[in-house]
């Protein structure tokens, strides 16, 4: 998960490094040694690398192939065959609320997780005793090791009863706020509970990436801030946070990607509905794409499967865009951090 570590050994092995001896060695040695078994081996490994790209393309292609019948059949015909579409007027009308629910849940989780994750990352990088820091980082990574189905079980059977009185209180006292309006669910199987569990699940990745970035803050910037009389918090605000801003943004986007695609927590906790509704304390309002697929897939007929795969394609495209944007920011940052 430590993808932001820039590998220092790259230049020397890739042969494009600054040292001319290494480049010359590589060129001369390539002419002499790149034949027979060595050449076969090189092609073999290159093939494996290319296979990764083929695999990613195959994911897209096979999803499109299986979604094609649902996308091309006239909607009236499709709706006759697929029970799922009973209440919608078009395929877009069916996917729309699902996309809305997916994004709302992920956004709520992100709002809760990012400040906490920044706090944890700062705690590990700048507050905890150096000797403890690694161990504390490992504790946070343990959160990522817990299987999602266990989070779902915990969220549904332990967390929901625990937070229900809090949700009831929020509804009674802050009911004028659109998010908290409506009738509060007596079981707390609602989107806000889901968002809490999602926030816990995406904490580790956001923390890990932010921590790496905070640790890269130039020592001199920090010491300069302290020498000017800044308190520790002022040092962090003036030196560490501005330096780490783009890293934190990409970390948050990686977390968003995770939250968008998470299935089990939503499936096990949320009581689903198909509305464009902001009422996160009321049952039967929203549903996410992933949870909907998992819930409907086992009983769907071939056309229904095709429809569900079409919704999966939408999820794939959304997460792909989010992840590519996040990775592009990380990659661009890497180029700049060398100049610092």
């Amino acid at each position: 998960m430590s993808t932001t570590k820039s590998p220092p050994a790259r230049s020397s092995t890739a042969g494009s490094g600054p040292e001319p001896t290494s480049a010359r060695r590589l060129k001369g040695q390539r002419r002499a040694a790149d034949r027979g078994a060595s050449r076969v081996f090189r092609w073999f490994t290159t093939g494996a690398g290319a296979l990764i790209l083929v695999l990613l393309a195959a994911v897209a292609i096979f999803l499109v192939v299986k979604a094609w019948p649902a996308l091309t059949t006239p909607y009236d015909e499709l709706a006759e065959q697929v029970g799922l579409l009973r209440n919608s007027s078009s395929l877009l009308d069916y996917v729309g609320p699902l996309i809305f629910g997916t994004i709302l849940a992920a956004a709520l989780a992100l709002v809760m997780a990012v400040p906490v994750a920044i706090g944890i990352a700062l705690f590990i990088s700048h507050y905890a005793p150096r000797r403890l820091a690694n161990g504390l980082g490992y504790v946070i990574d343990l959160l990522a090791a817990v299987p999602s189905v266990v989070y779902g079980l915990w969220g549904a059977l332990v967390l929901s009863p625990l937070v229900q009185p809090v949700w009831a209180w929020l509804n009674a006292n802050l009911g004028w706020f659109p998010l908290f309006s409506g009738t509060v669910s007596p079981t707390a199987r609602v989107l806000l509970t889901v968002a809490i569990v999602l926030a816990v699940m995406i904490l580790p990745i956001i923390t890990a990436v932010s921590r790496e970035v905070f640790l890269q803050t130039p020592r001199l910037h920090e010491e300069a801030a302290l020498a000017l009389g800044a308190t520790r918090w002022e040092m962090i605000r003036t030196a560490v946070l501005p330096f780490g801003r783009s890293g934190v943004i990409s970390a948050a986007m990686l977390g968003l990607g995770r939250a968008l695609g998470e299935t089990m927590a939503v499936l096990m906790i949320l009581s689903p509905g198909f509305l464009y509704s902001f009422r996160i304390l009321e049952a039967g309002q929203q549903q996410s794409i992933a949870a909907n697929i998992a819930a409907q897939f086992p009983e769907a007929n071939p056309m229904g499967v095709s429809t569900l795969i079409a919704t999966g394609l939408a999820l794939f495209v959304i997460t792909l865009v989010v992840n590519m944007a996040a990775r592009a920011i990380v990659a661009r940052r890497k180029d700049f951090s060398g100049a610092n």
């Binding site: 993808t3 078994a37 494996a48 990764i52 695999l55 090791a145 817990v146 779902g152 992933a290 071939p302």
Partner: protein, 318 residues
Amino acid sequence: MTTTAPEALAGNAELRTLLQQVDKRRHRKDRVMRGLIVAAFLLAVLPLVSVAWTVVKHGIERFNVYFLTHSMRGVFGGMDAGGVYHAIVGTVEITLFAALISVPIGLLTAIYLVEYGRGPLARAVTFFVDVMTGIPSIVAGLFAYALFAVILGPGVRMGVVGSVALSVLMIPVVVRSSEEMLRLVPNELREAALALGVPRWLVVIKVVLRTAVAGIVTGVMIAVSRVIGETAPLLITVGVIDSINYNLFDGRMMTLPVYVYRQFQQGLVPCTPDQANCIATVAYDRAWAGALTLILIVMLLNLVARLVTRFFAPKNLG
């Protein structure tokens, strides 16, 4: 960091107390932020402790040899019976086969990136491996389903489809961790071997891989522990079944995460008072015990992985 030369220390301390009294607001803010940051850390530990505690507390009741060695065949209603053996069999077989697919591909890709990678292909591979780590697990499941549906016709449910789905999730993790380990191998080792006239491919296999083997094994085990808890892709590709199925290539299989989900979904059993051996919460109890089994397997894999690094890592590295 804030101290100056030793002789100035006494005056420095005086100055500091003076400064702290003058600028109370700033120091109060500093203390508040410190409190918030420590609180953020404790807040994150809270769910971890709660999850661990409840899983152990609820799971330990049913977690015994009987539970581990029996399947759910012929178990119905609130019967005080049933176990997880068929799910363990499925999980182990499907995950091992997924590892069998992912490790060669992942390792070869890592070797390509470290030993040969340059130019646009290497950059593309690096970028898309990162992107692949973000593929939602349910999409990986849909892909595996679609792949086998195109080849073998629709409605295929068998273990190997799940393995393919898991390997889509596992390959990028294996590539990332192996790549990091291979980059740690000192370049001097490669150069020394090449200088002795060893062909490049033998250098990679006999020197580079031999040096990095402990780290690679650790990375693979961490990757396995990540995918072993995946539920959604297995739910839609492998299905559910109550009896033992050893055959990866024929018919549905049960897996541990899906078992937990299935038991949870069954909910409370309606018990009438005249039924003697009916436990209303038996399905939830089984779900917790299954979750405990799963967490123990994940923790065991993580622990063994750490031990491998500690005892088999070459001492002159790092």
